[in-house]
Amino acid sequence: MFEQFFSQDYMVAFLNSIIRMSTPLIFCAIGALIADHAGTMNMALEGIMLSASFAAVYFSALTSSMWGGIIGALFGGCIISSLLAYFHLFKKSDLIITGIALNTFASGGTSYLLFLTTGEKTTSRLLRSLQAPQVNIPYIQDIPILGEVLSGHNVLTYSSFICIIIVYVLIFKSRFGLRVRAVGHNPNAANSIGLNVRKIKFRALLISGAFASLGGAFMSMGYLSYFARDMIAGRGYIGLAAATLASGKPFGTLLAALGFGTANAFSITLATMNLNADLVAMLPYAATILGLVLISARKLAIEKGKTKLVNKIMEEKKL
C-alpha cells in the first residue's frame, strides 16, 4: 500500500497538492493575521471567503474576464467584512457572535443568490465563469522534479506567497502597519496620541477581508471551476487557527498554513489508498487542535517563566 506512496510520480503529485491545498489557507491566515495585529479577531473569515467565491464566479461570468472575477470577489468579501467592522466598531457588538452570524448570513445569502442567478440549488456549473490561469515559471519548469512541484500552479497560488511578503512590509515596515500595531497593542495609548482607533481598526478589518477574499476567489476560480454550496468547509476557521498558531508572524503564518495544507493533502492522498475515509478526514482538524494546544501551552510556559524570573529578581533586590 505504501510503496505506491513513495514512488516518484506520487510524491510529485503529493507535494504539488500541498501547495494547491495551502493556497486558500495562506490567504485566509493573512487576513486573520492583520485582524490579530489590530487587536480584533476576524471570526467572519469563513463567510467572507464563501461570499467572495460566489462573487468571483458570478462577476467573472458577467464580465467574462478573470479580473472581473477577482474584483468581484474582493467586493463580495468586503461586504461581509465591512458589516463585521461596522457592527463591532460602531454598534459595539460581540466579535464572535457577529462573526458566526455573518457566516450563517453568507451561507444563506450565497445559496439564495445562487438560486436567484442560476436557478440551481447546489452548484453554479451552469454559469460560464472563467478560471484564473495557470502559470509556468520559466527555467524552473525545466528542472526535473522541482519544476513539476513548483511550476504550473494557479496564478493566485503564486500571489499568495507574494502576499505574505506584502503583508510583512505592510505591517512591519509601513506607517499604516505601525498604527495598526499601536491600536492593537494599546488602543487607549494610541487614542491619546491622536490616532483614530476606530478608523484604523475598520481599515485593518477591511484589508483582512480583502486578503481572505482572494482565498475565496481561488476556491471557485482555481481549486474548482465553479461555486458549490458551503464550499469553504471550515477553511476560514483553519486559516484563523494558522494565524493564531504563528502568533502574528507573517512567515510563521505561511509555515502554519502550509502545515495545515499538508495535513489536508495527506488526508486526500490517504483516502485514495483504501484507508478509512472518515478517520482520515479528521486529520487536518486534529492537527489544528494539536498545534493550537502546543503553541498556547508554550506561550503560557514562557509567561510563567517570566513571572518567576521577575519574582526572583525582586527577592534578590530585597536581600
Binding site: 457572535i97 452570524a101 450563517t104 448570513f105 472518515d278 506561550k299
Partner: protein, 358 residues
Amino acid sequence: MRFAKRLLKNFDLLRVICAVLIGFAFALILLLFISKDPMNAIETFVLGPFKSRRRFFNIIELMIPLVFTSLGMCMMLSVGKYNLIVEGGFMFSGAIVAWLASSVFSPEMPAVVSPTLLIVVGALVGALCGVVPALLDVKWRANVVVITIMLNYILANASTFVLRYWMRDTTVTYLGSQKIAKSAKLHSIIAGTSMHTGVFIAFIAVLFTWWFINKTTKGYEVRLTGSNIKFAHYVGINTTAAMILAQAMGGSLAGIGGAVEILGKYDRFLWVNQTGYGFTGLMIAVLVNYRPELTPLVAFLFAYLQIGANIVGTTTDVPTEFVLVFQSVIILLVAASLFMSSLKKRLAIKVSMAEAEG
C-alpha cells in the same frame, strides 16, 4: 408618559421585537425577488406552518432539539466561554445512543428503562465532549472558539465513522444504521403526529437549567465567573471548577438533546453532516440574553421559521436557505448593543425630565 416609562423598562424586549420585525421584512423582500409567485410564497411561509395539525406539531418537534442546544449554549455563555461543542456533542451523542439502541438494547427490555439509560449515556457523552475543550482552555489557554469548531468537524466525522463501521444496515440502499430497538424509543404522545415524550424532557431541562443558574450556589458561582473572573477568584470561588462544571453541563444538555432527538424522531441514525442545531442554539441563547426560561419561546419562533421555510421549499420554487439570512439578520441586530440606543437615550431623558418636573 407612563407609556414611555413602561417602554423604557421593557426596552430589551422592544429591541428583540424590532430586530425580528426587521428580519421579517428582510425575508419578505428576499421572497419577493426570488419567487415567481411571491404572494403565494409569502403566504405559505407565514401561514403554512399553522395550516394543518401535522405541521403545527412539526414545529413543536423541531423545537425540542433547539431547546436543548440553546440551553447548552446558555450554560456555556453564562460562564463566559464560547464553547461551541454543543453542535458536535449533539450529533456524536446521537450517534453513540443510536449505536447502543440498535445493537446492545434488545426489544425485550422494559420500555421505560432503556430510554432512560440511553439518555443518561447521551448526557455522559455530551459532558465528555464539553469537558475536553474546557480542560484545554483552563490548562493551556487554548482558544476555545477555534478548538471547538475544529472538534465539531472531528465529532461529525467520528459520528459518520460509527455509522459506517459499527452500525450500518447493509440491507438498505442508503447510508443508515440498523433499526433502533422499539423498546428504546420515546413514545408518541399525540396520535397521528410524531410528537414524542421528549417534549416533557425538554420542559424539565428548561426548569432544571433555570433552577441551577438562578437558584443554586454553584449556579451563582458560574455566573459570577462568567461576568468577572478576577473578582470571582478574589472572593474565593474556584473559577476553574466553575468553568469546567458549566461546560460539562452545557455539553451534557446537548448530549441529552441528541439522545432525545434520535430516540424520539428516528427509526435509524442517518446524520452524515453537522446538524446545525448547535449554531441555531447559540443564536437563540444570544436572543434570550442567556436566560434559560425564555429559550422555549425563541426556539418556537426559530422552529416556526424553519418549518415555514421548509414548506416554502417543498411546495414552491424557493430554496429554504433564505431563512438563514433572516435568522442571522435578527442576531446581528440583537447582538449589536448600540442598536436603537439613541431611542433609548431619548426615552430615558424624556422620562427623567418628566420625573424632575414632578
